[in-house]
């Protein structure tokens, strides 16, 4: 049965679809389209009415669409080491013109179906139909062509005609594989220094300007005035660069409106996140993962604020009616630490579902809750990204949501793609257990490269966590 989708979720999907459609339209009309890191102050670009795409979201989307491996491999073929962040590899391959596409026969221009793809065919009684070879028969309606890699520069160089048109058509149709190439870059390295080199590489590949806002790592919970002054000066420098790029003057009114929208969106986002505090929760942290694209892509748009406010109403209703989108009874509540393994979401979900474990806390909540009152406040807000804060701040954020959202344990993703995020996780685990008395379990994975995830290890670790949570609960009762 198809899952019922709430009006708020539908509104958020539309907001993101519109942002992508607007960017494609802008590109077609010869207007500038930028690529931006997820925590660059989007308010600045909004003040210039610029269309902006977000490579991190794009990479997550590509990975969730199962094209992470072919794109990572393409970057490795360009010389980028397989130890580099999977988002960066996917994005660098894309910037270089590589695309995941559907294989077709150049003679007939027909797609070539991969016989291993698709879901099992079921008969009228819902039973899986078995073939003569003893294997389930695939439902032809769900089968897909083989995935191959194409290069847009090679396609562009082809003579016009049906073959060239077919190549363009063959590029996978989902929106993340169709974002326009960039005309400028907006980089803020508050999440990692890898971002700096990633964007420099794109600037070189595409020969385009790069606007850089540097946020050095912070060793204290407070953001000191010296740090604020440095970031404020960079806002001013970025504005000058954007004026030169666009030939327009900075529009203060538009900027103020963008800030108001961004604050409204962030506040609504935080309230939506807070609904995970209800027991049982009206939705799962996995849903919040999916909304990450919304908060990143459209933070400064009033439509995003409105859509999150609508989602808030949906959740209020769900609480009244006692419903939830989590498709199993909630027995345990955990915090999922880290970025999810996008290519393996079903594998992540399976043992959680089997054990009644709902993810009721994720670190994305504070990660995008940029709420501020003035420009100094804005600088301070952008200084506090998950990977730019000291261990005390990192622990305080997490222990706060663990307490508020009443979790019984923590599942920690040691993410091969994210050195800054995973770097002090072992110490954090010790503190969670010492401070909150809850068990933690770590597993190895990757946010985008499926080769770095082992489902068997993950299941064993989840099992271990469940047993520890069981024991904890028994001890409390006993």
């Amino acid at each position: 049965m198809a899952k019922e989708v709430s009006p708020g979720v539908l509104a958020l999907r539309k907001v993101v679809d519109d942002v992508h459609a607007d960017a494609r339209k802008a590109k077609a009309e010869g207007k500038l389209v930028g690529w931006s890191s997820s925590k660059f102050p989007c308010e600045l670009a909004a003040a210039f009415d610029l269309d902006v795409m977000y490579p991190e979201n794009q990479a997550a989307g590509i990975a969730a669409n199962r094209d992470g491996e072919i794109m990572c491999q393409a970057a490795e073929d360009l010389g980028f080491d397989n130890d580099i962040c999977g988002y960066a590899r996917i994005s660098l391959a894309y910037a270089a013109g590589k695309r995941a596409a559907r294989k077709f026969d150049p003679e007939t221009l027909e797609y070539i179906i991969d016989p291993n793809s698709g879901k099992p065919l079921k008969d009228e009684n819902g039973k899986v139909v078995m073939g003569e070879d003893g294997k389930p028969v695939k439902d032809p309606k769900t089968q897909q062509p083989y995935t191959v890699l194409v290069d847009i520069h090679e396609i562009e160089a082809m003579p016009d005609g049906p073959l060239k048109d077919k190549y363009w058509e063959s590029v996978k149709p989902y929106r993340q594989m169709r974002i326009p190439q960039p005309d400028f870059l907006l980089c803020c390295n508050n999440i990692c220094n890898c971002m700096t080199k990633w964007y420099e590489n794109i600037a070189r590949m595409c020969n385009i300007p790069l606007i850089m806002i540097d946020i050095p790592y912070n060793n204290t919970v407070e953001v000191h005035d010296s740090n604020v002054a440095y970031v404020r000066a960079q806002f001013d420098a970025a504005i000058k660069q954007l004026e030169e790029l666009t030939g327009k003057k900075f529009d203060e009114k538009k900027f103020e409106q963008a800030c108001a929208n961004a604050n409204r969106t962030a506040s609504a986002w935080l309230r939506v996140c807070d609904y995970l505090q209800y027991k049982p929760a009206p939705y799962s942290g996995f849903d919040l993962f999916n909304h990450m694209a919304d908060i990143v892509t459209a933070r400064a748009k009033v439509q995003a604020a409105e859509a999150f406010e609508l989602l808030e109403k949906d959740l209020e209703q769900a609480i009244k009616e006692g419903t939830t989108t989590t498709p199993f009874p909630e027995k345990y509540r955990v915090m999922f630490e880290g970025i999810p393994c996008w290519p393996k979401l079903p594998d992540l979900f399976k043992p959680l579902k089997a054990n009644g474990v709902n993810v009721t806390a994720v670190v994305y909540a504070p990660a995008f809750g940029f709420v501020y009152e003035d420009l100094d406040g804005m600088a301070r807000a952008y200084y506090k990204a998950p990977n730019s804060v000291c261990i005390e701040q990192g622990v305080a954020w997490r222990e706060g949501i663990c307490k508020d959202n009443k979790v019984d344990g923590v599942l920690v993703h040691y993410n091969r793609s994210c050195k800054p995020w995973s770097g002090y996780m072992a110490e954090m685990q010790r503190r969670f257990t010492a401070d909150l008395g809850i068990p933690c379990a770590g597993f190895d994975g990757d946010q985008a490269d499926p080769r770095n995830f082992n489902a068997a290890q993950y299941e064993t670790r989840v099992q271990g966590l469940v047993e520890a949570m069981e024991q904890n609960a028994a001890n409390k009762e006993g």
């Binding site: 070189r204 850089m212 540097d214 050095p216 740090n227 000066a233 800054p420 002090y424 110490e427």
Partner: protein, 378 residues
Amino acid sequence: MSIELMMKQFQDIAYNPNKQLADFKAAGKKVIGVLPYYAPEELVYAAGMVPMGMWGSNKKTISRAKEYCATFYCTIAQLALEMLLDGTMDQLDGLITPTICDTLRPMSQNFRVAIGDKIPTIFLAHPQNRFADWGLKFCMDQYNDVRKMLDKISGHEMTDEDIRKAIKVYNASRAARREFVKLANEHCDVVTPTLRSAVLKASWFMLKDEYTEKLVALNEELKKLPKANWKGVKVVTSGIVCDNPKLLAIFEENNIAIAADDVAHESRAFRTDADETGDPMLALAKQFANTDYDVLLYDPASSSNRRGEFVANLVKESGAQGLILFMQQFCDPEEMEYPYLKKALDEAGIPHIKLGVDQQMRDFGQASTAIQAFADVL
């Protein structure tokens, strides 16, 4: 003193930093551990203390550090933590923890937590937008914090004049090392890759005035020698650290000399001098701002391939025939810059090989085969 003996002295120091640390402590000196990269060592010197570089170890195995890090972190950082945990560095009076890469960011926290109250940590975050006045100002603010912490450890306030003097000592040391690198190229029959590395490595474990005095004396002796009639091949080395004697011995076995380097632990650390007059804190901030062609630093002209071309030119100008890249495992900045380094080298017609290395490598069979094959091609 013979050249051999002079180099042997540097080698003894380079291979026995523990002894150096113990000797400094026995002489009543305070010692500050300095992690990579770009910490203003001049301030430690100006405070009357000894800065000791901490670039991992070729002898140790990661064990206690595993309680803090997953496996996918560079061994330099992990082994630095190991040495802080296993007692090797217990005699330190302080530790400077820069945070310019994605491993050092969280590791700065692990260092601080792991050593607790045992050794004070001095946090340092450099700006990447380091050129404009406000970038310099932020760098100075950071350096002033370092200065205050150092004053606290030393027990007295350093003066601007102390720092100016330290800058002079360091500029002289950097000049002597740059000259040594040139002389090592001209006299590569005497200054083998292993000795070259040891001479440069010793600088991290000595007071710079003492080091410079010895190095200038060595340079003078080298100048007296006739230039080498080198029949082997010459390469430029590139990477973070290339100091493993076993690895460098493979160079010697294959008659490969090092003409110049683009190594963080070597030339990248002494390419840029600081102004000797005016505000010394500004001079140090400007020195950092002027540091260029570096994998770890933001390049505002990033749409051109300046760093790749710089290294390619270094190969040509030094008379090398190729480049050997020591790719430090799990080093994102090196890995991210590799494709464009390769592009610049390919365009300049310079052959290169990329060798994966880490400090826990004990078997060099594969590296030996690759280096030998590369020498044959050259």
